[in-house]
């Protein structure tokens, strides 16, 4: 028998007796690998489907758009068909229900979409709409919200339409788009009659082209690109949309793969911890083999083979589970998907998951397994003979380094960015480090200061946390990190919602009316006053673009070397500005001063939002020439303001002094505060009924929408983070089974010396209560740190504790731990006291 064959034979012999235990060790990686393969497969399938259904993403070969009417390119000879759309935000009301809501109105002319189709209910809805007349296609979500149905009436501006169909799907749009701005399609020929296209209305003009078969849209773009960019005309082709959609989903899939990878890492911590116990049990056998003359390499081989085999089985099982699991992912992602996803096995994902599982589980298992090399044969004579300490074994350090490198390599493979890779790896180490130190610290503290005054069951339960072969650290790390992830997501969601809702708690405005024409201002204000509502702000708004900055036009700026160019955002933006000589509550002057414009011919000094000025590199004293409805207006930057944007209020990046824009074409915004949602709804419906062109935003609508969007996003992430919790539970179950024999011995001993069942149950329950609490509280502590950092540095909102949420997470995790511990303890308690003689 050759050496290799002998190693395999011995591994097989050993596995025969240990197999079930080893399978248990490896079970903790199955869920992580399953999550990784599922998300990776789904990502692959989605990318492929985006590719296949690329044209349906856009619905046309080429789309041109601008927020003003514009001259169309002379490409009729290349065009097979074209369609026109005018879209804008406007209130729609349901006269039968007496309710209204802000929507995205889309007036359509032509056969758009050229690829794909509107999915309506009933199916005849689209045909009926295209036959003309006052018929509208309304987003299904909107109908559900107002309990309206096909055939009901919907009023847009001055026109009442019949609802011809509920829109289920529009090419390229997702559930999220529908949540943010539900669409209502109306025929173009009825647009004028609505009276909504007025001066100041924020309207977008879009042209959809279906090109002749042999025409390459990219080629068409090349000829016009420069002119369109100069004229601020946006253009988009199938390739462009495909690339941007593909990129977004690739980013999402990669991000979620990293979340799944954390579950894999947690599983590996479980593997390492279980292998550690396994190795401890094996040390006497290793010493015997050394006595019999087996080299350390061969003995090491016997166990590595078993671990490798288990890693392979675990990874393949995880990969299959993941492949099956991807079939539920469309339901999880339904609100984000722009295309129909067809599910197939992605061998790339299966390969990636299996390879990752085997390698990472083997690497983690090697940390305790390498101990086998250093076992002295003297251990057969003296069982206490030590192995080399971890810190003195260079090979084990090399394995730790290999794990770090693999983690970095894996994250880089997904992120393709070294900075993000370092952040991710750093975060994982920080999180594990915090949990590890906490667990060690608490165990050390209990050992050192466990008060003798505590009752016996409590003392014994606490002492069990640091018993030999305990799994306290690995359980705190795995369950704790899973808890931290779920809890952080809830935390952030609540923080953001709280921040928005907070505005209503103070004496802040909560309702905003816009698109008010100058001649309507007094009437709208009067209507509000009649309802006893205060007019907190009445603000005129003038729209304008930028012609030049510091003497440089957009074209001149683009010709400069890239590093010298100013931000193109300045030139492309349509500024909505107001004028006044004083600051409002949400503003604070940080630099310069507000200089009034007193006499014609005076220099006009404007004020910029400090953050925006810094981002676009605008300095005090810079000259900016605006284009106000075709007329140039030369201004200079006179001051910076710091603006608190987190209020339902009118805030402006650019503020003009009084007397400059008085005669410029403008529209108005009125801001008020309602007492409650009932009053808000009543006022909104009344204003929309009397002034159909006026749009309304109220705080509760914002909160509702935000809640819905955050809920959808966090559901997806939590779904993936759930795998970490499941992994933590699997690690817990495997550790319970591993320690069963030891627990039986302890329990039997205690019963032999007279402990009653009730005491043992109490000890068992308390031990898991402490363990669950320790893991949950460590995870919660980590989530507080993470949520505080995200709130303060990413979202820039004040951090608030969410005691109720934390309490719920703590209770859930601790309960699961106690229940599992109790379930495991039943059999242990049943064991006969005779075992003490037999063992």
């Amino acid at each position: 028998m050759g050496d290799f064959q002998w190693i395999m034979t011995m591994a097989a012999r050993d596995f025969r007796k240990n197999g079930s235990k080893l399978i248990l060790f490896i079970s903790s990686i199955i869920t992580g690998i399953a999550a990784l393969v599922a998300i990776s497969s789904f990502g692959d399938n989605l990318t492929r489907d985006i590719d296949r259904q690329a044209k349906e993403l856009l619905g046309a070969d080429l789309v041109l758009s601008k927020n003003q009417p514009f001259d169309l390119p002379l490409i009729d000879s290349l065009v097979f068909d074209k369609a026109r759309e005018v879209n804008f935000a406007s209130m729609v009301s349901f006269p039968d229900k007496g309710e209204s809501r802000l929507t995205q109105v889309r007036a359509l002319e032509g056969a758009f979409p050229f690829y794909g189709s509107f999915e309506t209910e009933p199916l005849s809805g689209e045909e009926s709409f295209r036959q003309g007349g006052k018929k509208a296609l309304v987003e299904n979500l909107l109908l559900v919200q107002f309990d309206a149905k096909v055939g009901d009436k919907i009023k847009i501006g001055e026109v009442t339409y019949e609802i011809a169909g509920a829109l289920k799907k529009v090419p390229g749009q997702t559930g999220i788009t529908a949540t943010v701005a539900p669409a209502v399609y109306i025929p173009m020929e009825t647009l004028e009659e609505t009276g909504l296209v007025q001066f100041g209305s924020r309207i977008n003009y879009e042209y959809y082209y279906s090109l002749q078969q042999n025409v390459d849209p990219e080629q068409v773009i090349q000829n016009y690109k420069e002119r369109w960019e100069e004229d601020n005309i946006n253009y988009e082709t199938v390739e462009g949309r495909k690339a941007s959609t593909g990129r977004s989903f690739q980013n999402l899939s990669n991000f979620l793969s990293l979340v799944a990878f954390i579950a894999v890492l947690l599983g590996c911590v479980g593997v390492a911890s279980a292998v550690n116990v396994f190795v401890k049990e094996k040390l006497p056998a290793v010493a015997v083999l050394r006595c019999l003359g087996v080299s350390s390499g061969k003995i090491f081989g016997i166990y590595v083979w078993q671990i490798f085999l288990m890693g392979l089985i675990g990874s393949v099982a995880g990969a299959f589970l993941g492949t099956a699991l991807q079939f539920v992912l469309p339901a999880v992602f339904q609100d984000f998907l722009p295309v129909d996803v067809t599910l197939e096995i992605s061998w790339r994902a299966v390969g990636l998951g299996t390879f990752t599982g085997i390698l990472i589980s083997l690497l983690f298992a090697l940390i305790p397994l390498l101990k086998i090399r250093t076992v002295s044969p003297m251990m057969t004579l003296r069982p206490e003979s030590a192995t080399i300490r971890f810190s003195k074994d260079p090979l084990r350090w090399a394995v730790v380094l290999a794990i770090v490198l693999f983690m970095m390599g894996f994250s880089y493979y997904l992120l393709r960015d070294w900075i993000q890779t370092l952040w991710f790896t750093g975060f994982v180490f920080f999180a594990f480090g915090v949990l590890w130190l906490l667990a060690l610290g608490i165990m050390w503290g209990i050992k050192k200061w466990l008060p003798i005054t505590l009752t016996y069951p409590i003392r014994q339960a606490l002492a069990n946390l640091y018993r030999p072969n305990n799994q306290t650290v690995s359980l705190v790390a795995t369950i704790g990190l899973g808890t931290a992830m779920i809890s952080t997501l809830f935390f952030v969601q609540y923080q953001l919602l709280d921040e928005v809702q907070f505005a209503d708690k103070e004496d802040q405005p909560n309702m905003l009316f816009f698109d008010i024409q100058t001649h309507q201002v007094d009437a709208v204000s009067e209507a509000l006053k009649k309802q006893n509502l205060p007019i907190l702000q009445e603000v005129p708004i003038v729209t304008m673009g930028v012609s030049s900055v510091k003497g440089m036009t957009k074209k001149q700026n683009q010709e400069l070397p890239e590093e010298e160019q100013m931000s193109s955002r300045l030139f492309n933006r349509e500024f909505r500005v107001t004028y006044r000589d004083s600051l409002i509550k949400s503003e604070r002057l940080t630099d310069g001063e507000l200089k009034p414009y007193l006499n014609p011919g005076d220099t006009i000094f404007i004020s910029f939002d400090k953050g925006y000025a810094e981002r676009t590199d605008i300095k005090l004293g810079d000259q900016i020439i605006f284009n106000v409805q075709g007329r140039p207006l030369t201004t200079y930057v006179g001051s910076y303001r710091e603006i608190n944007f987190r209020q339902v209020s009118t805030n402006f990046l650019v503020l003009f002094p009084d007397n400059v824009l008085t005669n410029a074409p403008k529209f108005h915004v009125v801001v008020t505060k309602t007492k409650d949602d009932v009053q808000a709804g009543k006022v909104q419906n009344e204003i929309v009924r009397d002034f159909p062109n006026v749009s309304v935003i109220n705080l509760s609508t914002i909160v509702e929408t935000l809640d819905e969007i955050l809920g959808k996003i966090s559901f997806v992430i939590q779904f993936m983070a759930l795998f970490s919790i499941i992994t933590g539970i699997l690690v817990l179950i495997s550790s319970l089974i591993i320690s069963k024999y030891q627990r039986i011995k302890e329990n039997v001993l205690l019963r032999t010396i007279g402990a009653q069942q009730a005491v043992l149950i109490k000890i068992n329950t308390l031990e898991y209560l402490f363990l669950g609490s320790l893991a949950a509280l460590s995870g919660i502590l980590l989530s507080i740190i993470a949520a505080a950092m995200l709130s303060l540095y990413l979202f820039e909102i004040p951090f608030q504790m969410e005691w109720l949420l934390l309490g719920a997470v703590y209770a859930a995790i601790t309960c699961i731990t106690v229940l599992l511990g109790w379930w495991n303890g039943r059999e242990i308690l049943k064991t006969s006291t005779m075992e003490i003689l037999r063992t």
Binding site: A285, V288, C291, L292, G293, P377
Partner: protein, 225 residues
């Protein structure tokens, strides 16, 4: 020529700042086929001496030469090879591999030697120790005496030149212990093996040709059985 030569053997352990000498300047020689017992009170250094003689541990001073090979010049893996080629062990607590059957436990040293007749030879040895009908049993399914018999069969499997036994009857009742003693001496005689055993049992020690008395890590006297 001796099969085992021990010269000025010393073993010290570092315990914190303290140096602990557990064996000091021990010297003796054993001729091929001889039997020798190491006796002494608990903590006297018997087991340490056995471990050093068998190449399980390395000395702090002096030398051990086993079958003509200086142990201190060999690496751990070279010593393992030497053990597989020339040494057999019997332990107080049997030290069978719990995951292997009785037969497989005996086969291991033969397989390591790449012997094609590993199975038949192991079966033959198990028959010899009276366990022909227990070959497929795992250690946990055997009594103490049976386990020690498997251990003896394993020790003789690789036809060792020297056999080390550490309190071979220490965990057994008197009757079984006697049976095991007889088996060891019988096989030893049949195979012409050198036997070194550590024991508290003076009767057992008396059955060997030479007895080494150790106390406090020092050789007190050498008597003849």
């Amino acid at each position: 020529m001796s099969i085992l030569s021990v010269q000025n053997l010393t073993k010290t352990y570092q315990s914190g700042n303290r140096k602990l000498t557990v064996l000091e300047n021990v010297s003796f020689e054993v001729a091929p086929g001889d039997t020798l017992a190491i006796v002494g009170p608990s903590g006297s250094g018997k087991t340490t001496l056995l471990g050093l003689c068998a190449g399980l541990d390395v000395s702090s001073g002096g030398s051990v030469s086993l079958n003509g090979q200086a142990m201190d010049k060999l690496t751990e893996d070279q010593r393992a090879k030497l053990r597989n080629d020339s040494v057999g062990f019997i332990f107080q607590n049997f030290q069978l591999l719990p995951t292997l059957t009785a037969l497989e436990n005996v086969m291991v040293p033969l397989e390591l030697k790449k012997r094609k007749d590993a199975k038949s030879k192991a079966l033959e040895l198990l028959e010899k120790v009276g366990l022909g009908d227990r070959v497929t049993h795992y250690p946990s399914q055997l009594s103490g005496g049976e386990q020690q018999r498997v251990s003896i069969a394993r020790a003789f499997a690789n036809e060792p030149k020297i056999l080390f036994a550490d309190e071979p009857t220490g965990n057994l009742d008197t009757e079984t212990g006697e049976m095991i003693e007889n088996l060891i001496f019988q096989l030893n005689e049949e195979e012409g093996t050198t036997l070194i055993l550590v024991t508290h049992d003076t009767e057992l020690a008396q059955r060997t040709k030479q007895i080494i008395h150790i106390k406090g890590g020092k050789l007190q006297e050498v008597t003849h059985g």
